[in-house]
């Protein structure tokens, strides 16, 4: 999947440090915003004490919140906050696209992969903003759900949960794998976040809807159909769930559990999973039979809509789901890149809420809110506004980054390490450009020179570096006229202008203004290589000529301002773009420095 993979390690120290720094920075801003809102509220309360109770739009005569809605709201609020905290794990910024999104999408059809790739590319271009945005959006939604008890604010929180949940379900979970083979309730089908979406939609219902058992009946009927369908899928012959072992290999369920046991986690947990995997391998048929019967029974009980049956199904379902959560889903959030506790906990909350909605307490229909509760919403409204501000805090930079088609320079910095800021006179040279004209560094005074060393018959890095330079020129826009893009040949044998021209044609550089590909005699080139610290040598046995990848930024006064490794690293779309952005930043910086001095 092009674009999605930045090629960098998720635990790359530069990315991890930048992610941590962004979270701390944005966390501090969030704290300041909350303090500001609190002060605002306290001031308003002092000036207009009578209005404080009415700010939420709730009156003392309004009925208390239904237990089912309370469970959904607080349950999924806590889950969103927990997911947000998981998103703050160090490897998340660099690893979510490649280690979570891409593998999940890999078994889905092509159109799903393309869609997920689009989202993954946006993430890999801006991993820090995307990672931080996910943290704040999820923490914000969770907090919003918890603090906004009723009224439009609360329903809006449910709607926000639906919208963000759908985004996560599509891009993060590849539609929960429903279009991929091997779909099973045991491993989380149809996607944990889809359950968040359903819960959000229920929370967004008007408060009056919860006064009758109807939402409970509908929810349980839906869950009944879902469980029945999952039972049929689990029982379907040929899907591999019945045999514990097939063709001398562990069956589907054993394999899934064994894979989960490989996740980095405490030893006793992996031992527990391995033990269950062995059990499932030995008694595969019996295990699947229990699963199918349990799913079918729960489906039938929920579909029946009879409170007593549903209660039994709920309690046995809780036990069953918890067992699956531990023994098959392995808690879902371990290993450093777990994004949520998988589907079982949300499912428990959902069907428990269904039961509560089916059997509303007698007081729910008419009991007025307690006086104390009626006074609190003012605080809650401010808290809800604060939560919304936290969401915007994450979403705004991400939205701004998403419309930016260039990648963040952090990727390039992660590959090449920090550049060296210098202020040294650039060693002069006089070489021949691709058109046979003599070019000297002194003749380029007045312009910023972005210079690198390229082998015209190189098969790997050099064409990529040339493209990064070309893209830098395009990014500079009007400033490009003040910047000269210069490459010096880095091959002792294949160094004539015929080769520099061939290279330019190959890379589409012939029409790039201010592009110079310089060469000369071996002694001329040798002097330039030596002065700039570039080692060039032929290697035996069919290998490419070896040279170190180096780029220097020379300011208009002829002084070296930056020196950095131009090794393109994994040379993915995002890292290429990132290098171009970084070079462009250095060029602008060199222009500014010169202007400042003059």
């Amino acid at each position: 999947m092009p674009g999605m993979n930045s090629g960098l390690s998720p635990s790359d120290p530069t990315l991890v440090a930048a992610f941590r720094s962004a979270l701390l920075h944005q966390g501090a801003i969030a704290l300041l915003m909350l303090v500001f809102l609190w002060l605002l509220w306290a001031t308003a309360r002092t000036w207009r004490p009578a209005a404080s109770a009415g700010t939420s739009g709730v009156t003392a005569g309004e009925p208390a919140e239904a237990r089912a809605r309370w469970l959904l709201r607080t349950g999924f609020g806590v889950l969103w906050i927990f997911d947000g905290i998981l998103q703050a794990q160090p490897k998340m910024a660099g690893g979510l696209a490649t280690q979570v999104m891409e593998p999940i999408a890999a078994s889905s059809p092509g159109w799903v992969q393309h869609l997920v790739n689009w989202g993954g590319t946006a993430w890999s271009y801006h991993p820090i903003q995307a990672g931080a945005a996910s943290v704040w959006i999820q923490v914000g939604i969770g907090t919003w759900l918890i603090v906004a008890v009723r009224g439009p604010w609360s329903r809006l929180a449910g709607a926000a949960s639906v919208i963000w949940g759908l985004i996560v379900w599509v891009f993060g979970e590849s539609f929960g794998g429903i279009f991929a083979p091997g779909l099973s309730w045991l491993t989380g089908a149809p996607g944990a976040v889809l359950i968040y979406v359903v819960a959000g939609a229920l929370i967004a219902l008007p408060g009056g809807a919860w006064r009758t058992p109807r939402p409970g009946r509908l929810l349980l009927a839906g869950l009944g159909v879902f469980f029945a369908a999952m039972a049929v899928l689990q029982a379907w012959p040929g899907r591999g769930f019945w045999p514990g072992r097939a063709a001398a290999k562990p069956g589907t369920l054993s394999r899934m559990v064994t894979e989960m046991a490989g996740t980095p986690q405490p030893h006793f947990l992996s031992s527990l999973l391995s033990g269950f995997a062995s059990f499932a391998t030995r008694y595969g048929f019996a295990v699947n039979l229990v699963v199918v019967i349990a799913l079918a029974a729960m489906g039938a009980a929920f579909l029946s809509g009879r409170p007593r049956l549903v209660r039994y199904a709920m309690w046995s379902g809780i036990v069953f789901c918890l067992a699956d959560w531990v023994l098959v889903q392995d808690f879902g959030f371990l290993g450093g890149l777990g994004t949520d506790p998988n589907s079982m906990i949300p499912l428990i909350v959902l069907f428990s809420a269904g039961y509560l909605a089916l059997t509303p307490a007698a007081h729910e229909a008419k009991a007025p809110a307690r006086a104390a509760e009626a006074k609190r919403p003012g605080v809650r409204s401010v808290a809800a506004a604060g939560a919304l501000a936290v969401i915007l805090l994450g979403a705004a930079p991400m939205a701004a980054a998403a419309v930016n088609r260039t990648a963040d320079p952090i990727l390039a910095l992660a590959i090449s390490g920090d550049s060296t800021s210098l202020n040294l006179p650039a060693p002069g040279f006089s070489l021949t450009d691709q058109n046979g004209r003599t070019v000297s560094l002194a003749g380029l005074r007045g312009k910023v020179v972005l210079m690198t060393f390229l082998d015209p018959v190189c098969t790997s890095d050099c064409p990529i570096i040339a493209q990064e330079f070309k893209q830098t020129g395009q990014m500079l826009g009007a400033q490009a006229k003040n910047v000269e893009l210069v490459a010096v040949v880095a091959n002792p044998t294949y160094r004539s202008t015929a080769f520099t021209r061939a290279f330019d044609r190959q890379e589409g550089l012939t029409t790039v203004p201010d592009w110079l590909y310089l060469t000369g005699s071996l002694s001329q080139l040798g002097a330039v290589w030596r002065h700039y610290g570039v080692t060039v040598e032929n290697l035996p046995a069919g290998a490419m000529a070896a040279h170190n990848d180096l780029a220097v930024v020379i300011d208009p006064a002829g002084r070296i301002r930056q020196e950095l490794s131009s090794d393109p690293g994994p040379a993915t779309l995002s890292t290429r773009s990132s290098f171009s952005v970084l070079l462009g930043q250095y060029a602008r910086q060199a222009l500014r420095q010169t202007l400042g001095q003059s």
């Binding site: 049929v232 098969t459 790997s460 294949y494 061939a502 032929n538 290697l539 069919g542």
Partner: protein, 393 residues
């Protein structure tokens, strides 16, 4: 109106089944296709020039193709020992193509990875020193993609089937090539239409130093060998014996120039498998050998005097002398790992080589030379090649 629990269960199960039915796709039916001859010409080959005998083989043994580099070995005239002669300065993990000229050897690097054109290297001292050259296009993936005439006139067959020419060795070095023919133009010419030309596989020079091109044709029994007569391409007149019903399509696998003529190796597809045969042209008529059956060719090449050799699957090797009327002769099963055979030299070999074939066997970065003597292969030399793993990313 409310529905009873039983009704809801039925509806639920019906919905679940409908969903499952919709999810169960049907498998696409397989479509039968007519396949061209399975036999193609790999780049592993050997050739003989006045400087010595040259062999090309890929080494490295890495699962990553960019870590496997093609090597050129030379057994210099008057010696019996092989040495590494791969030109330096370009990664050759895309493949090497070589052609001998008047006292020189021209090597073309096939493009790989990010490189899109083909640098060249020429040696006039048996691979001790190399002069760079340039073909600003991608060489074809076939051992006959370069031909050098006695005057230095050089032909190159490109990946897209175009033939380019450099009038002199200096022009080839400086990248001054001119198009001679395109596949499209050749296919549209009278001889191209006649054979149903669909691809080019080799270039060479004819008896009067005019360019020759060969390819593969879709018309059963038609062999695509063409000569350039002052800008007009004509059929070279190669007709296969038994041409008629039951004859398969023909692909020219190799083409080389001889003194006063040419030699070619051809593959013919048959329903039961492919067969290979050699053909020689003296400028006026073709002589065609008897066929030899083959499922796959691992390497092929020409030797002095129009001789040819084939390295086939299952450790088989067949050779044929250039003389008219000669027949294929099976060599003893070649040693494991044999990548290329090298024919005897031009009669200037050192004593002891016996004018016999060498088998060059590759294992990772080690080359073992086996020599055929008294009906058995004997190990005569081992070379460890300093393969630069990881040098191409």
């Amino acid at each position: 109106m409310s529905r009873g629990p039983a009704s809801r269960i039925r509806v639920g199960l019906a919905l679940a089944c409908a969903g499952l039915t919709a999810g169960c796709g049907t498998q696409a039916a397989t479509v039968a296709v007519t396949r061209p001859p399975a036999v193609t010409a790999p780049l592993s080959t050997s050739l003989t020039t006045a400087q010595g005998t040259w062999a090309i083989a890929v080494m490295g043994g890495s699962a990553a193709s960019h870590n496997n580099f093609w090597q050129l070995f030379v057994r210099r005239a008057n010696t019996g020992r092989w040495s590494l002669a791969t030109p330096e300065g370009v990664a050759d993990n895309g493949g090497l193509v070589a052609a001998g000229g008047n006292g020189s050897l021209v090597v073309g690097f096939r493009p790989s990875q990010e490189l899109a054109y083909s640098p060249l290297a020429t040696s006039t001292d048996a691979g001790l020193n190399w002069t760079p050259g340039l073909l600003d296009a991608a060489l074809a993936d076939t051992p006959g993609a370069i031909a050098v005439g006695p005057s230095g006139h050089t032909l190159a067959l490109l990946q897209d089937g175009t033939i380019e020419a450099a009038p002199t060795a200096d022009d080839a070095a400086a990248g001054r090539w001119v198009p001679l023919a395109t596949l499209k133009a050749l296919a549209a010419s009278a001889p191209g239409r006649s054979c149903g030309l669909k691809g080019m596989t080799a270039v060479s020079f004819g008896p009067d130093q005019n360019p020759i091109a060969a390819g593969s044709c879709v018309r059963p029994g038609a062999a695509g060998v063409f000569t350039d007569a002052g800008g007009t391409w004509r059929s070279a007149g190669l007709t296969l014996p038994g041409n008629g019903p039951g004859m398969g399509t023909v692909r020219v696998l190799g083409l080389t120039a001889l003194a006063g003529g040419n030699a070619a190796l051809l593959a013919i597809s048959h329903p039961g498998g492919d067969s290979l045969l050699a053909a020689w042209w003296d400028g006026t008529r073709w002589t065609v050998s008897a066929p030899v059956t083959a499922d796959g060719v691992r390497a092929l090449g020409f030797g002095p005097g129009g001789s040819a050799w084939l390295l086939l699957d299952s450790e088989r090797a067949e050779t044929i002398a250039g003389a008219a009327g000669s027949t294929w002769r099976a060599l003893p099963p070649v040693p494991t790992g044999t990548a290329v055979l090298a024919p005897p030299g031009t009669g200037t070999l050192a004593p002891g080589t016996g004018g016999s074939y060498d088998a060059l066997a590759v294992s990772g970065s080690r080359l073992t030379v086996w020599r055929l003597a008294r009906g058995a292969w004997g190990k005569v030399q081992q070379i460890t090649v300093p393969v630069q793993y990881g040098s191409s990313g």
